[in-house]
């Protein structure tokens, strides 16, 4: 049994129907637990006061905003190389979710920045990078909706995702070069395995990251299923027109 089996839309829908209830329950539980724990069960930070509670939204959303794009990149590559329709549709399905995550990260960042940095918006490298990511999501979604033929749209958006990824990385360095920034360091540096925040904040944060991650997966499953059904409807109608 290979993973590629699920590239078949029917098999994917069957898997999705089985997986989704579990995913939704798990996402709901971990997300509400993480956020409730973070909101009610953690102390205020010495310097940031109660605004530290915003990280339980801001950090997971930012993480998923990047991971969603990365997932779209992998899905686009799979479409371009192996031409599995489910892969292309999953990339399409993930884009609005990624867009929303980016928006949440930006909005919570701005709300947090107001009391902490004294400004709603600063052209800090990270904020700016997320703004650029936001534009990439918008362009990607707009390109999907602008092209009628679904396969051509999948081709074009996949190439855009590839090229966009290269430019997103470039922009990241360009923006860093351009402004050294006010933003705190990473809260959970993966590479070093260490952490820059204390345990009281860390565990609810991890729980809420898991929650956002599961929610993302559940949403992608749901939305990919929607896309597959729309494609199938389209195919059936096209066949009916030909007099099948």
């Amino acid at each position: 049994m290979s993973l590629w089996e699920y590239a078949n839309p029917v098999r994917f829908l069957r898997l999705s129907a089985k997986a989704q209830p579990v995913l939704w329950v798990a996402a709901g539980l971990s997300l509400s637990l993480g956020l409730l724990w973070g909101f009610f069960g953690t102390p205020d930070d010495m310097r940031q006061g109660s605004t530290v509670k915003i990280i339980y939204l801001h950090v997971p959303a930012a993480l998923m905003a990047i991971n969603a794009w990365f997932m779209m990149l992998v899905a686009s590559l799979i479409w371009l190389i192996r031409r599995h329709h489910v892969s292309a549709l999953a990339a399409k399905a993930a884009a609005p979710v990624g867009l929303m995550m980016t928006l949440i990260a930006l909005v919570t960042g701005a709300i947090w920045g107001q009391p902490m940095w004294g400004t709603w918006w600063a052209w800090d490298p990270r904020l700016t990078s997320f703004l650029i990511l936001f534009l990439f999501y918008l362009g990607y979604i707009a390109l999907w909706s602008a092209i009628d033929d679904p396969d051509t749209a999948a081709d074009f958006t996949s190439v855009l995702c590839l090229v966009g990824s290269v430019f997103a990385v470039l922009s990241r360095y360009a923006v860093k070069f351009w402004n050294q920034g006010l933003h705190q360091g990473t809260s959970v540096p993966v590479a070093t395995g260490g952490r820059t925040i204390s345990d009281v904040f860390f565990y609810p944060l991890v729980l809420s990251m898991v929650g956002f991650g599961l929610l993302f997966i559940a949403l992608v499953f749901l939305r990919t299923g929607t896309e597959i059904r729309q494609r199938r409807t389209r195919a059936l109608l096209a066949r009916a027109r030909r007099g099948g």
């Binding site: 329709h85 033929d149 679904p150 396969d151 494609r231 199938r232 059936l236 096209a238 066949r239 099948g244």
Partner: protein, 205 residues
């Protein structure tokens, strides 16, 4: 150069429209594609010209030997007739545009910007482009549209001269071009509605 097509299937917008199509076209012969609107004549010609991949089957001997003339003539309104023709001659690596100008009686229009030509004159210029490509197989989509009787006979002369030189042509047309051509009724190759092979919708049915 013989153009050989084996068991070809083509799709338009991801939907198969022709399948099981086979024919071969020897040098010096021309084939007229017949069939009602929407039968797939344009799609077939574009596939032969390499502008879209076939769903199934093989095409031998086309590639760099085929010159395509579609509904749009690829003319620039702001360039003169000579400039338009010279451009295509340069792109295809030939240099002499005089025979093409002769064949379609374009000398009187040589310095007119293509944008000021009538529809029929534009078409003549578009067809003259075929002569400067220096290619052996012509794929023509409705070549006689908007041509008057006189221009149509110019086209017939040019086509028969091309065939005499050992060239060949596939012509999609509703009307008699003034030559006797072999005919191929592509309506007979209409893809069965339940044909799935290679179509992009296949995975969803």
């Amino acid at each position: 150069m013989t153009l050989r097509v084996e068991d070809l299937a083509v799709a338009r917008g991801g939907v198969p429209i022709l399948s099981g199509l086979s024919f071969s076209l020897r040098p010096g012969t021309a084939l007229a594609l017949r069939g009602p609107n929407g039968a797939g004549k344009t799609t077939l010609l574009r596939t032969l010209a390499g502008l879209q991949p076939p769903l199934a089957g093989q095409i031998h001997g086309a590639g760099e030997a085929i010159a395509y003339a579609g509904h749009a003539d690829g003319l620039k309104a702001m360039l003169s007739v000579t400039e338009n023709l010279t451009f295509w001659a340069d792109v295809f690596g030939t240099s002499d545009i005089a025979p093409a100008m002769d064949a379609y009686d374009l000398h009187g229009l040589a310095d007119r910007p293509a944008g000021t030509l009538s529809a029929g004159q534009k078409r003549r210029l578009g067809l003259a482009r075929l002569l400067v490509t220096g290619r052996a197989i012509w794929a023509l989509d409705e070549p006689t549209v908007s041509l008057d009787t006189q221009a149509r006979s110019l086209f017939a002369d040019s086509l028969s001269a091309h065939l005499q030189r050992g060239g060949s042509a596939v012509v999609a047309t509703h009307i008699d071009v003034g030559l006797t051509l072999e005919e191929l009724d592509i309506a007979r190759y209409r893809a069965a509605p339940d044909l799935r092979a290679g179509a992009s919708d296949e995975a969803f049915l």
